[in-house]
């Protein structure tokens, strides 16, 4: 995003709307720090600029910068040329939301989601690689319908395309499945590497309910030092035909 200095009236309305705090007062007008801007479009859509000074310059749509809007603005579809056959917007996948009809996560497996940059901080993509390269060394394979998968140079090694390393997005999700028996080793390794990332990460775990309605994994997670929030996303089992293994 950019502010046209000729049009800006310095009303100071737009800085409050920026989720990553990258709009500042400059010399005679407000200025967007384009290195920090994630192209989420909130300033353009919602700040109500009285002089229409905010705009998206052509450069924002050119690769690799185009990655920013794709992962930060939910109204932007992933460009076909970069994400062939993805056919979706949004940062994640169907994951557990349709698990009752897809069986993506059967009993005996967990799903894991690591959302970099969330909440409200943003992340450089190089931070993601710190974790993906570690996970592949532990045998993890990433969800190939997640948009992140298209940014890998080598998904088997968890390395990203070098030209995107410095791009910044509002958030991006690392998503994978793991056998139940691997929970402790993966959580312990992640707990260490997440201390080294230069952003925040919202961590989630997908699990089937037991037939008695319990979630025994909560006890295992608490033993590992993780706190499980009292609120969660719950697939109510109303999809048909139901996958009941």
């Amino acid at each position: 995003m950019r502010i046209d200095p000729e049009k800006c009236s310095s009303c100071a309305r737009c800085p409050d709307y920026c989720p990553v705090t990258c709009i500042h007062e400059g010399n005679g007008s407000f200025v967007i720090d384009e290195a920090e801007c994630v192209e989420c479009g909130v300033c353009l859509r919602d700040a109500g600029c009285p002089t229409d000074a905010i705009y998206m310059p052509e450069e924002s749509g050119r690769y690799p910068r185009s990655i920013r809007a794709a992962f930060s603005d939910p109204g932007v579809q992933y460009p076909e040329e970069l994400f062939p056959d993805l056919k979706q917007g949004g940062r994640g996948t169907e994951e557990m939301k349709t698990n009752d009809v897809t069986g993506n996560f059967p009993r005996g497996e967990f799903g894991m989601t690591l959302e970099f940059g969330r909440p409200g901080v943003g992340t450089r993509l190089r931070e993601v690689e710190k974790v993906t390269s570690l996970l592949t060394s532990m045998g993890v394979r990433f969800e190939d319908s997640n948009a992140l998968y298209f940014l890998f140079e080598d998904p088997e090694r968890g390395t990203l395309k070098p030209e995107i390393a410095d791009e910044k997005v509002l958030s991006i999700i690392v998503e994978f499945a793991l056998p139940e028996a691997q929970l402790e080793s993966v959580v312990n390794a992640l707990a260490q590497v997440l201390k080294t990332v230069d952003t925040v990460v919202s961590w989630g775990l997908v699990t089937r309910f037991e037939k008695d309605g319990s979630l025994p994994v909560k006890g295992r997670l608490e033993k590992l030092g993780l706190t499980v929030r009292p609120n969660a996303k719950i697939n109510m089992g109303m999809g048909r035909p139901l996958i009941e293994d």
Partner: protein
């Protein structure tokens, strides 16, 4: 996406915060799903949701999305999101969805225990959960919890910390009511899961707490 999974709050102030998401699968039941999504939207709307929408519509109810226009657009959609502040509304919606038996997956985000109680009451068997294991990494970059309770109601992170602080200040100074403040904060979130009622109550609680501290 996991955009309603990581809402910050306490058991007490999450009592009035439930999002419901009807989601088709592109592998199973997306083809021709428009009429079913419209039926689900009709059921959602019958129980006074506080907000609704989806990113494909580009704006939420709070930002002016017209329900009829939205219903017509659902032939090109794959999901519908809605937000409720009363557990009784969620329960009634689930009952009606069970009767309607659309076959579309339904996800409820809210307090685990409360959602399980609802499922028990109407004979549903919850299938899968996405548990939130909190925020890790450089937590010193985060604003205070009272701000996060509001910003995380937009799972895409489009409600800015500074906007919450600015609106809260206006509410404290009496330049906005808590209700007006909640409406202002809901605007950047296009998906319709920003809970206006909960936001209004959180702003009003902040105001009350500051008033009490002033008296002391």
């Amino acid at each position: 996406m996991s955009h309603s999974a990581h809402r910050c709050g306490t058991v007490s102030n999450l009592q009035n915060d439930y999002t419901m998401y009807a989601r088709t699968s592109r592998y199973v039941n997306r083809e021709g799903c428009g009429p079913k999504l419209r039926k689900i939207l009709e059921i959602f709307l019958s129980e006074n949701p506080v907000n609704f929408g989806s990113s494909h519509s580009g704006k939420s109810f709070a930002a002016g999305l017209d329900p009829e226009e939205y219903a017509r657009s659902l032939d090109k959609a794959y999901a519908v999101a809605c937000c409720f502040s009363k557990p009784s509304s969620v329960l009634n919606v689930l009952k009606r969805l069970k009767e309607a038996d659309t076959g579309i997956s339904i996800v409820v985000s809210g307090l685990i225990e409360e959602v399980q109680n609802m499922a028990d009451e109407i004979g549903l068997t919850p299938h899968t959960a996405l548990l939130s294991l909190g925020v890790h990494g450089r937590k010193e970059l985060l604003p205070e919890e009272s701000v996060l309770e509001i910003t995380t109601m937009c799972g895409h992170g489009l409600v800015a910390t500074h906007l919450v602080e600015e609106v809260a200040q206006k509410v404290r100074k009496g330049r906005l009511t808590a209700e007006e403040g909640a409406m202002a904060l809901a605007q950047p979130c296009p998906c319709g899961i920003f809970n206006l009622d909960r936001c209004r109550e959180l702003l009003a609680e902040q105001l009350e707490r500051i008033s009490k501290e002033g008296e002391e």
